[in-house]
Assembly symmetry: C2
Homo-oligomer: 317 residues x 2
């Protein structure tokens, strides 16, 4: 498979088999929403606190032997950073991660603790892809894109294989927090019979717009602020759109207020710490934006949040 090759259902199964060797399945927890018992997939309980460990592992473990010494470069606000850094450490591959200076402290520190070198950039202002291109030019190495990469998509999709095993059947519907569309695309391949419902922050719903129009759409320069630091890429990639355009829908958007309410619900009803971007799918479910049934799965995609902001959210300050 080359970088321009499309990810496949067979590839997702191969990724799932590889990941099962190193990581236990994350729990699928029962959750009651509006009187209906459905399921929450707690990717927050991964060793790096987010599903991104899956794609990082599958991409890096497929890196040819002769490319490993030059290392990898990733751009991420924090969860992909940790996923790549975790896999790199385990495989003995040097990793440079380009991160925004305003990323949550907890994500910067965790990435550093995993042994990765961090290069900071200013958001907004500097173009993160330009910073990454400069690092690649100066040092060489392989870019590991956060979502527009076939191995990354297949790796993320391994969560869907686990869900199918845990339920004993494919879910009817998967509500998935959506940044660039890597996880959503992976789940679409993993669970061909399931409806895929991407949920984005209001004003940042460029995957939804792309799916509806069939064209890549960029987030508006004057998009409103969002608390979802993990769901802020500017545009999806052709590889993600190609998978999602006939599979995703309805594509939903939720407000910061609904997301904070979902974080409070996860705290009080599930005893789980979920970061804003990890609670978008749950927010859509709690807000009644999509029908829920007994085999609906809600992805809780990440839980890496600073104590101060989480404390404010749960006490509703």
């Amino acid at each position: 498979m080359s970088e321009s090759t499309m990810p496949s259902e067979a590839g997702v199964h191969a990724a799932a088999a590889s990941i099962a060797q190193i990581l236990p399945p994350t729990p699928l927890l029962p959750v009651e929403i509006g009187g209906v018992r459905c399921w929450a997939k707690a990717e927050t309980l991964q060793p790096v606190g987010a599903f991104k460990i899956r794609g990082g592992w599958w991409r890096l473990s497929n890196l040819p032997e002769n490319e490993r010494a030059r290392g990898v470069v990733a751009v991420s606000s924090g969860n992909h950073a940790q996923g790549v850094a975790w896999a790199a450490r385990r495989l003995g591959i040097p990793a440079v991660i380009v991160m925004p200076r305003d990323a949550p402290k907890v994500k910067l520190e965790a990435t550093r603790a995993l042994g990765a070198e961090i290069v900071l950039y200013e958001r907004p202002g500097e173009d993160r892809d330009e910073v990454a291109a400069r690092v690649l030019e100066e040092r060489g190495g392989t870019l590991v894109h956060a979502f527009g990469d076939p191995w990354v998509i297949e790796g993320q999709g391994s969560a869907g294989i686990e869900i199918t095993e845990q339920l004993g059947a494919q879910p009817s519907r998967i509500l998935v927090c959506c940044g660039g569309g890597g996880l959503a695309a992976g789940l679409a391949l993993a669970c061909p019979d399931a409806a895929i419902v991407p949920v984005e922050p209001e004003g940042w719903d460029m995957v939804g717009q792309a799916v509806r129009s069939g064209e890549i759409v960029r987030v508006a320069a004057d998009a409103p602020a969002t608390i979802c630091d993990a769901l802020r890429p500017d545009a999806t990639k052709p590889i993600n759109l190609a998978v999602l355009k006939d599979r995703a829908g309805p594509c939903l958007a939720v407000s910061d207020e609904k997301i904070r309410a979902a974080q409070r619900f996860a705290f009080s009803a599930l005893n789980l710490v979920v970061e804003p971007g990890g609670a978008a799918a749950l927010a859509a479910a709690l807000a009644g934006k999509v029908a829920i049934d007994a085999s609906t799965v809600i992805m809780l995609t990440g839980g890496n949040t600073d104590a101060e902001s989480f404390a404010k959210t749960i006490t509703d300050l």
Copy 2:
């Protein structure tokens, strides 16, 4: 089995088989403590947020048909309350729960939401066993003791059967948050080859004192305050001591400060919400009070905590 009968290893296996019919196993999550990877059993992810659902279910589902209509009475600061209320609702048995007025709001509300009738008492001041005796005298029904009951002990022990299945072998050692000693006794029966290490709040270590002296010991009237609302019974019961006296050790005690540090660790490293009493075993591990190895299991026994106090703990206010 009568109330004076001793719980047994076979009984724990029977309880585990019954509980497996209604509740998925709670996750056994990898956790790194001082460079050693061991395991955390996340009972915080039970539907009532604590392991008490196990003992409640096993006790009530063994209640003879002709005693069910008269209902059950339990005394609890909150987690046993919810465990009994959950089982009672599912089995259609009326439940009255005697709870201290200073129990965490979240526990009072959750117990009420499960359909139980709540009778409040003042702590300190009123004797909770006297309040329960009065309720029993007035209305009849069966007392479901929080720890001094063979079915409750066997039910709690089902967690140890799950752990053994999840590890593929009995753990070397189980660190367990300890109130009256119901869970510790159940785990001792479930895992006869494992060391059982009860962890109590400083000044409330009456199970440890009882194990060392061979006699029931009461908590001193001037015992210091503790944030562990779930670990404050006055004394263990003969049935618990009989199981634990040759099995438990070392018996440890931890400070409120260490417990809050453990809650912060669970928040940041595991993305889990753990209540003070549920973090005692983790606190002992983090403080280096006992050796940890790759098959050591740390019980995270409960996660029911008010948002305000949790927010203060994680921001270290």
